[in-house]
């Protein structure tokens, strides 16, 4: 009988006989009162006890998600610095008051998220400590399609050296090589195109390069220094309209071509935004008084904090635009803050008379470009595309005595400034593009260049008709006849001699 029972369970590891044995053993052990009633349940229990659970020999590999990697790096932000540096910090901290700025910005309606702002400020602290910067400030955030940039503005240290780009020397080398190749065979017509003179960069610490900018993708990741900006880049940036991708080495493919990659474009846009939208309450900064100022016409490029500033009430600041002034120099058409005359030849200093003559002869002597001077009120900004360039309002209508005056730019959407009593701050959070009004339009392509000088050999002319050819032939025969006569007469004369 056991053999018969054993035959019927081919697939299972246990037979019915085994199962019944276990069940009966269990009943005998436990001796429940109503064994018949609970027999089915006990049978289920016995079967369940056999189940060994889903413990397979495979284990999950722990993935490190992107969030975990970032958290590891951001943990360093919260590490406390050594005791030795605390004394320096007590004297003058290069960073502004963190939570206060965040609070006022939130009142103004601008925020990056409270925790995010805290992380950003800790990252700024790390930047100051690692690079030894004097003053540092959060400039803002530029959104990109793949990731965003957090931008910090700092002053140059005194011992910073400018990295010289060797572009000019490279071009010269290439030019000489071409010349050597051409002299061996027939000379190819040379192009007479002269590139317009390159506007020189401004020295670091002045004009558009007054501050140095550092960017990072997320707070906690290392800060990258942006290169200084050149006027050619600013002029090109004025003509294109592009989103940022989030990768600093991304090439900018545009028309007109932008000289540089995304890092240069980012720097150029930062310069334009700073020049256009950094404002402060009137009176906060005053013009620097220098002794022995010979050139009163030279634009001032520096300002200092006014110690007697008392603060303007927020309601007044929210109503009139006269109370806000620009404190960053305006960028001229040339791409610099101070104008440079490109037609002057600095080498011919000895021939002053010759220079004077040349200047008189040149009819199109460029006039120096002049922009609005520093500390001009914002109310004098030109209106573009039928919209006023600024909108200002109070942050709250209900508690106006403690409200903050908010100024928002309409030309650079995302630029915002707030002022409350003696405190003010500027910030930019946006895509880094200027308002284009009706729409961005590309500049038209240039006129095609003349390839060769036109002369009589290559100008087209009508083929002469039959009568003209015959007339020409007759004229030639006459000429030949007269020539022969003169030759004969000449020979006779010679014979006479």
């Amino acid at each position: 009988m056991a053999w018969q029972l054993g035959l019927t369970s081919s697939l299972k590891s246990r037979t019915r006989y085994d199962h019944l044995t276990c069940l009966l053993t269990k009943v005998l052990d436990e001796q429940p009162h109503n064994a018949v009633d609970v027999l089915e349940d006990m049978s289920c229990d016995v079967k369940r006890a056999l189940f060994k659970g889903g413990q397979s020999n495979l284990r999950d590999l722990p993935h490190t998600t992107a969030a975990e990697l970032l958290a590891e790096q951001q943990r360093l932000l919260f590490a406390r610095q050594e005791e030795a540096t605390q004394e320096e910090e007590l004297v003058e901290s290069p960073l502004p008051n963190v939570s206060e700025v965040g609070f006022y910005l939130e009142q103004a309606g601008v925020s990056l998220g409270r925790e995010e702002l805290q992380r950003i400020f800790l990252a700024l602290k790390q930047l100051v400590a690692s690079h030894g910067l004097l003053h540092c400030r959060l400039w803002g955030k530029i959104l990109g399609t793949e990731s965003s940039y957090i931008v910090a503005e700092a002053e140059y240290r005194e011992d910073e050296e400018e990295e010289s780009t060797d572009e000019a020397t490279e071009d010269e080398e290439r030019g000489t090589q071409e010349e050597q190749g051409e002299n061996e065979t027939d000379p190819i017509p040379r192009s007479t195109y002269k590139a317009p003179p390159v506007v020189p960069k401004e020295a670091i610490g002045t004009g558009t390069n007054k501050f140095v900018y550092y960017v990072c993708k997320e707070p906690g990741l290392p800060w990258v220094k942006l290169p200084s900006v050149s006027p050619a880049q600013i002029t090109a940036a004025r003509q294109i309209c592009k989103f940022f991708t989030g990768r600093l080495d991304n090439p900018i493919v545009s028309y007109p071509p932008f000289p540089g990659n995304e890092a240069n474009y980012l720097r150029a846009q930062i310069a334009r935004i700073s020049a256009g939208t950094q404002v402060s309450p009137q009176g906060f900064y005053q013009a620097r008084e220098e002794e022995g100022d010979e050139d009163e016409e030279a634009p001032q490029d520096s300002h200092e904090v006014n110690p007697d500033f008392e603060g303007i009430p927020a309601s007044e600041m929210a109503e009139s635009l006269n109370t806000w002034v620009h404190h960053v120099q305006h960028i001229l058409q040339q791409g610099r803050c101070t104008w440079v005359n490109l037609t002057e030849n600095p080498r011919d200093d000895s021939n002053e008379e010759a220079e004077a003559d040349e200047r008189e002869e040149e009819p199109d002597e460029p006039e120096p470009e002049v922009g609005p001077s520093l500390l001009t009120p914002v109310s004098q900004d030109i209106e573009m595309f039928n919209t006023p360039p600024w909108s200002c309002r109070l942050s709250s209508a209900l508690t106006s005595q403690h409200a903050v005056a908010v100024l928002r730019s309409n030309l650079w959407p995302g630029a915002c400034a707030y002022a409350c009593g003696k405190k003010f701050e500027n910030i930019y959070v946006g895509w880094g593009v200027k308002c284009t009004g009706e729409g961005h339009s590309l500049p038209l392509p240039l006129q095609p260049q003349k390839e060769y000088p036109s002369g009589p050999e290559i100008t087209e002319a009508l083929d002469p008709s039959l009568e003209e050819e015959q007339a020409l032939q007759e004229a030639l025969e006459e000429q030949q006849a007269t020539q022969e006569e003169t030759e004969e007469s000449g020979e006779e004369e010679e014979d006479d001699d």
């Binding site: 969030a67 990056l112 995010e116 309209c241 909108s391 709250s396 959407p413 284009t436």
Partner: protein, 268 residues
Amino acid sequence: MDANSLYFSLELVAGSGLTLNVEQRAALQTSLVIMKKNYKFNRVLFWGKILGLKEDYFIAQGRGEDELRDKKNLYSFNCMDWFLLPPATESMMEEVSAAAKGRFTGDPSYVYEGRKEYGDGEEIKVNEERRLAVTVHLIDEEVSVIPRGSFIRNPQGLVQINRSFSGLSDSEARKLDNFLHFNIPKNLKKKIINEMGEWNPVMDFLGPLTDDIPKGSWSLQFESAGKVCVLRSLLWLGLTFYHVPFTPQHGYLYIGDGTKNLDLPFML
């Protein structure tokens, strides 16, 4: 975004830069509850803010039984007193596209004047309230986003919230085709049989974002220490959608100047 989640979800979209201050948030919490009761909405959403030159408009949206079709928009200046916007019709959209140019001024009775470009070239006048209604409707139609699976369509055709939506996973949230447009699709591309592995008629009745032209008009990023998936539209700058993976929290908000970014092809 849902009025109930307003107090924490504003932090999640703050990466775009603009947000509401505390006073406005407090006012919204009160007034949206009153609005829901008065208008008998199923759900009230805070839709966003349109920045005008002199004043800003706060927009709220009330949803009825059918989430897709039953929508009403309201606007306010102080987050307390709400005015109903007229529903946008085809003729209104034509008028607004012909006449309204530039930024919103902030005065709902301001009249824009324009001329029809075709036909008789007659003059068209449109006031700012209608322009606002049309703009809100267009933004909803073109760039409102939901994660796949968060709304379901029942056999009668009603679109409702999926109560058992537990969120997209981390890897799913990195793919743009798991996010769908929340509008009545005009041409729903029929997928070829290879792609129809996980196709589900209950969830996939809307068009995914990957069908948008030009490609690349959405920016997908992970913000807030890599925890929140944020989608930003490059066509209507200012629209931000957030979703926290593995949770049912999602929503979108528009804070911007209400103008379409027509330069998008140049900027990509």
